[in-house]
């Protein structure tokens, strides 16, 4: 080994604490990068593979009932490669031992296996056989949740008739990677299932001989990937058969969630590591600037002996590279491990035939490149000043620090009121600008990350509270197969354990404002409804007007309408005439884009007579009455879906719980940033001022008093940085929320005082913990030796 390398190793050992501090930040940066990019590739690859394996539809059209022959013209469009008509229907499932009602969706599949659009992947058992008509394939998660196996029988209410079906297999499909029931935003394996049955059987039980109520299609190359034209034509052509909705793949529910997740990963895979690595480079810069400064004379001597600039730079660079390479390797390892964990977590919500987590060597290479690059940059910037010196100049002791008064000194009364300790602290903080700046920057970035972590938690709480305690207040929601009259409400009131029942009417429609069209629905409520309460952003209750709509802000913005505007309303059922109705209020919510109206007004508009499509119930909460209610509901054939608020909240909470892991990780990462930068700055400061410290000790300062000076210095930068980082974090959060916002789900932005307080307190706690380490090295410092050092 070269002699200079020995020097390097000895110095590295001497600066171990600082190197670990910087290394920690690099590790965090690379870990984030590798984790997110790997998880991104895992998900994106799995999605692509799965979609092509199942021949995922590019669009779908839902309609009332269309004869198969009538689909011919659509299929012959040059933009359409292939169509697949199918039958879909909502069902309720009756499982022994389950008191709560279970709903599901039935889809038809060819009797004999052949490749089709939106195909399934068999997970257990087999495809349909020729032995029976009434065979069923159950989606895997549902089967697992209820321990259903091929060979068992299952009872379902199909088209108001109880049927026994024989389970031949379990399966998954690319259209249900993210499988959620109606109105839900998170999967519920137990209470919502997907069932596939033979086409001939479905035709028979649903009375759909030779017809279908859903058309799936794949685009040909001629469409250029854009299904809008096809969907517009389909709507025209199939209008006589009652088109409810046309959905491009982009808006397909499962695809939307999955794509958004992948896009989110993509963004964060760039932003987060950048934050950490920038901090790492800066902190390394400070460390190496100190090291090079300290070694001025050595640098001069080496130059005098005939070492070239490049050789000496390489020597310092190696110092940075040790950290960069070690941090990079560790980060890659940790990142790979975390990517597996994250991918594993995804596979709990996103169902793929396989979601393997592979090591991506390219990603590791990028991780190493980025970490060594950031280390090299830090080393370069740190050692540049000293390397530039003439050897003769370098060998002389460095010129004294910029003297002169600092800014605060000019404010006489303030300066005079400060003790000598504070004066020392402030002078130091102002004079070592780079270090102070690095510390402030690091603290700002740390605070940014903390704000994001804490806000995520607060948002979740706010979302659940606002959505499920303030807007949706019913305990159980029922929907009927078809619109019914007032009698439905009377029937519901008489159900066991019901305290209050309110009717609802859901009307799917198209909203139109000029050239803007949006598919949506209006929910009719009674005017003094208490079980669904539309609210504005401030949480104030909005009255349902006698005429006109209460529209959610997202939809109003998308349509370009506001309070008092008229909006075109074209229902897909009843009288499908386009009518212009006033928007009376704008409401806010985090889930969906609800539009409310008075149920009487809405009924008149669409059906001319009072209509009810569902009932919301407030019920007694004890399990016995709940059981009685559910038993009664099972025997009501007209009830299509049953949703219990408690179940929804519980579901949401379990999903969001997994977020806690990430919140915890984020806090940990922020902690490493604070720890690394403060430790580094304090130790550098300590090394730089050994003589000063020694002199203070001679004067009778104890180690804790000396530590106190350093502590005050690091607290100033920590608090300043945190203050700067908080608005930054807030802006970042706004951008994140904006990026993730969709028709289905919006992230509440919570800027409550506790957010700011919590962030500041956490930052200060990190500062305190770090200072304990600094204090340890002050206590251990041999200050008599320091006095002898000639610099």
């Amino acid at each position: 080994m070269k002699v200079l390398d020995r020097k390097l190793l000895r110095e590295a050992r001497g600066h171990l604490g600082m190197l670990l501090a910087v290394g920690g930040i690099i590790v965090v940066g690379v870990t984030c990068l590798v984790t997110m990019v790997s998880a991104y590739i895992n998900l994106a690859d799995a999605k692509q593979l799965y979609y092509s394996q199942c021949r995922m539809a590019d669009f779908s059209v839902e309609l009332r009932k269309a004869p198969l022959a009538e689909l011919k013209p659509l299929e012959e469009m040059p933009e359409v490669a292939k169509l697949r008509p199918r039958i879909q229907h909502a069902v309720t499932v009756d499982l022994p031992g389950m008191i709560e009602p279970i709903i599901g969706q039935v889809y038809s599949l060819p009797d004999r296996r052949r490749p089709v659009i939106n195909d399934i992947v068999i997970r257990e058992g087999s495809y349909f056989t020729a032995r029976r008509d009434n065979e069923v394939i159950v989606n895997e998660k549902f089967a697992e949740a209820h321990r259903l196996r091929p060979g068992q029988w299952i009872r379902m209410l199909l088209n108001n008739q109880q049927q026994e079906l024989f389970i031949v297999g379990t399966a998954i499909s690319s259209e249900f990677v993210y499988l959620i029931g109606p109105g839900a935003i998170v999967p519920d394996d137990r209470r919502f299932g997907v069932f596939y049955m033979k086409r001939t059987y479905a035709e028979e039980v649903f009375d759909f001989e030779g017809s279908a109520n859903q058309v799936l299609g794949r685009l040909s190359a001629a469409a250029g990937g854009d299904p809008r034209e096809v969907l517009r034509r389909a709507e025209e052509m199939l209008a006589p058969y009652g088109v409810f909705t046309t959905t491009p793949l982009e808006d397909q529910l499962s695809n939307k969630f999955l794509t958004q997740e992948i896009q989110g990963l993509e963004t964060f895979a760039v932003v987060t590591p950048c934050i950490f690595l920038a901090v790492a480079a800066l902190v390394l810069n400070v460390l190496l600037a100190r090291l090079a400064q300290q070694q001025r004379i050595v640098v001069g001597t080496l130059k005098a002996l005939g070492y070239g600039d490049l050789q000496i730079f390489w020597h310092f660079l190696k110092f940075g590279l040790i950290v960069g390479v070690a941090g990079g390797l560790l980060g890659c390892g940790l990142g790979w491990w975390l990517a597996r964990l994250l991918t594993d977590l995804y596979s709990r919500f996103y169902q793929f035939p396989e979601l393997p987590s592979r090591p991506y060597w390219g990603v590791f290479a990028i991780g190493m490149l980025v970490s060594t690059g950031c280390a090299a940059l830090g080393s370069f910037r740190g050692s540049r000043a000293v390397l530039r010196l003439h050897p003769a100049e370098a060998m002389r002791p460095s010129p004294p620090r910029r003297g002169g008064a600092i800014l605060i000194e000019r404010v006489g009364w303030l300066w005079r009121s400060l003790g000598s300790g504070w004066r020392m602290v402030l002078r130091n903080a102002t004079r070592s600008r780079l270090r102070t700046a690095a510390c402030v920057f690091a603290a700002a970035m740390g605070a940014c990350v903390l704000i994001n972590a804490f806000m995520m938690q607060l948002s979740i709480d706010e979302l659940i509270d606002f959505q499920f305690h303030r807007i949706m207040r019913s305990d159980v929601d029922l929907t009927f197969n078809d619109e019914r009259g007032r009698d439905a409400l009377d029937e519901a009131v008489r159900l066991p354990g019901v305290d209050r029942a309110e009717p609802t009417l859901n009307v799917a429609c198209t909203f139109i404002n000029g050239w803007r069209r949006k598919k949506g629905a209006v929910t009719g409520l009674i005017r003094d409804a208490v079980l669904t309460v539309p609210r504005d952003a401030a949480g104030r209750r909005l009255r349902i007007p006698a005429r006109g709509l209460v529209m959610s802000r997202q939809l109003a913005d998308a349509l370009g309408v506001g309070r008092g505007s008229l909006v075109g309303f074209e229902p897909v059922k009843g009288q499908k005439r386009l009518r212009y109705v006033p928007v009376v209020e704008i409401s806010d919510s985090y889930l969906g884009t609800a539009v409310y109206a008075d149920i009487k007004y809405l009924s008149r508009l669409v059906y001319e007579e009072y209509a009810v499509s569902g009932v919301q119930l407030a019920v007694q909460r004890d399990p016995a009455s709940r059981g009685a209610l559910y038993r009664a509901l099972k025997n009501l054939p007209a009830v299509q879906t049953v949703a219990a608020r408690a179940d929804m909240i519980e579901n949401l909470e379990t999903v969001l719980e997994t977020q806690s892991i990430f919140i915890l990780l984020l806090v940990l990462f922020a902690g490493i940033v604070f720890f690394g930068s403060i430790l580094n700055a304090s130790l550098v400061s300590l090394a730089e001022r050994q003589r000063e410290v020694a002199t203070l000790r001679v004067l009778g300062y104890g180690p804790w008093r000396v530590g106190g000076l350093l502590f005050r210095e690091s607290m100033i930068t920590t608090i300043l940085g945190t203050l700067l980082g908080m608005p930054l974090g807030y802006l970042l959060m706004l951008a994140t929320a904006e990026a993730y916002a969709s028709d289905l789900f919006r992230m509440p932005i919570v800027a409550a005082p506790e957010l700011w307080i919590l962030t500041m307190v956490t930052a200060i706690i990190f500062g305190l913990i770090t200072h304990l380490f600094v204090q340890r090295s002050i206590n251990k410092m041999d200050w008599l030796d320091a006095l002898k050092i000639q610099e």
Binding site: L305, G306, G308
Partner: protein, 259 residues
């Protein structure tokens, strides 16, 4: 004297076949021509050298004396390629040092010059042995490192770090480091400043032997007028100017110097 024997071994080790005769016409090794060196310190200008012209001959032992701050170290730095002149020119043999690029300067320092610094400048994190190796690793035909340390009587302390050595011991390691590179030109800034009488004499003997046996050129700075007696020529500086330059036709052997 043991150091003489050691030097003999070093000579064999280097397999040098150089004949030294004193009668040959003196070849000019270094030439300074109207050299000025000014340091700018904020508003203040310090004129460290003013119009200095000097020739140094190959194989001579030149001693520079002068009061503190008179510019001795500054000359050494310029000659050794450690600093740039403000005006004037410096040649080494037929090459102009003042016109060298940074890379050429580095090569010049590496291959030609050996430095003993006024403040030793050992690398704190390297042992005595390693401090010598720092320079031999760069050299194309270095002396044996142990041999170099033995010459200054430091081989039994070779594994100690500078902080564990006294000032005089550090100075001797610094001398070993300069010699071990086997340079044509040896520049010594007060190499005996921190040494006691006996050790100082031994160091001088080594330097004189280097000149006499290997034909090296030695420039030595001292405050000690007595040491000037071993020189072939003596340069006296005052306030950045050469005020006196005289030959010493009969240099004393170091053993006979008294101070």
């Amino acid at each position: 004297m043991c150091s003489t024997a050691a030097l003999g071994r070093a000579t064999r080790f280097l397999k040098l076949t150089m004949t030294v005769t004193s009668d040959q016409p003196r070849r000019i090794l270094l030439r300074l021509q109207n050299v000025d060196k000014t340091f700018q310190m904020g508003e203040v200008k310090v004129e460290a050298l003013r119009d200095v012209s000097l020739e140094v001959f190959a194989g001579e032992f030149l001693v520079m004396v002068g009061p503190s701050g008179s510019g001795k170290t500054t000359i050494l730095n310029l000659v050794g390629g450690l600093d740039s002149v403000t005006s004037g020119r410096v040649w080494f043999e037929d090459r102009e040092i003042t016109a060298f690029s940074a890379a050429e300067l580095t090569r010049y320092r590496r291959d030609t010059v050996g430095f003993v610094f006024q403040f030793y400048n050992l690398v704190p994190n390297l042992t005595a042995l390693e401090n010598v190796m720092v320079s031999t690793e760069l050299s194309r035909e270095p002396m044996d490192v142990i041999e170099a340390l033995r010459l200054v009587d430091m081989n039994d302390r070779k594994d100690h770090f500078p902080s564990q050595l006294s000032g005089g011991e550090q100075q001797r390691v610094a001398i070993a480091r300069a010699m071990a590179k086997n340079p044509t030109l040896l520049l010594c800034d007060e190499p005996t400043g921190a040494l006691d009488f006996a050790t100082g004499k031994r160091v001088l003997r080594i330097l004189v032997d280097l000149k006499q046996q290997l034909g090296r050129t030695v420039i030595l700075i001292t405050h000690n007028a007595a040491i000037a007696q071993v020189a072939d020529r003596v340069v006296r500086l005052r306030s950045g100017q050469i005020v006196e330059l005289h030959d010493n036709p009969q240099p004393l052997p170091p053993e006979d110097v008294v101070w």
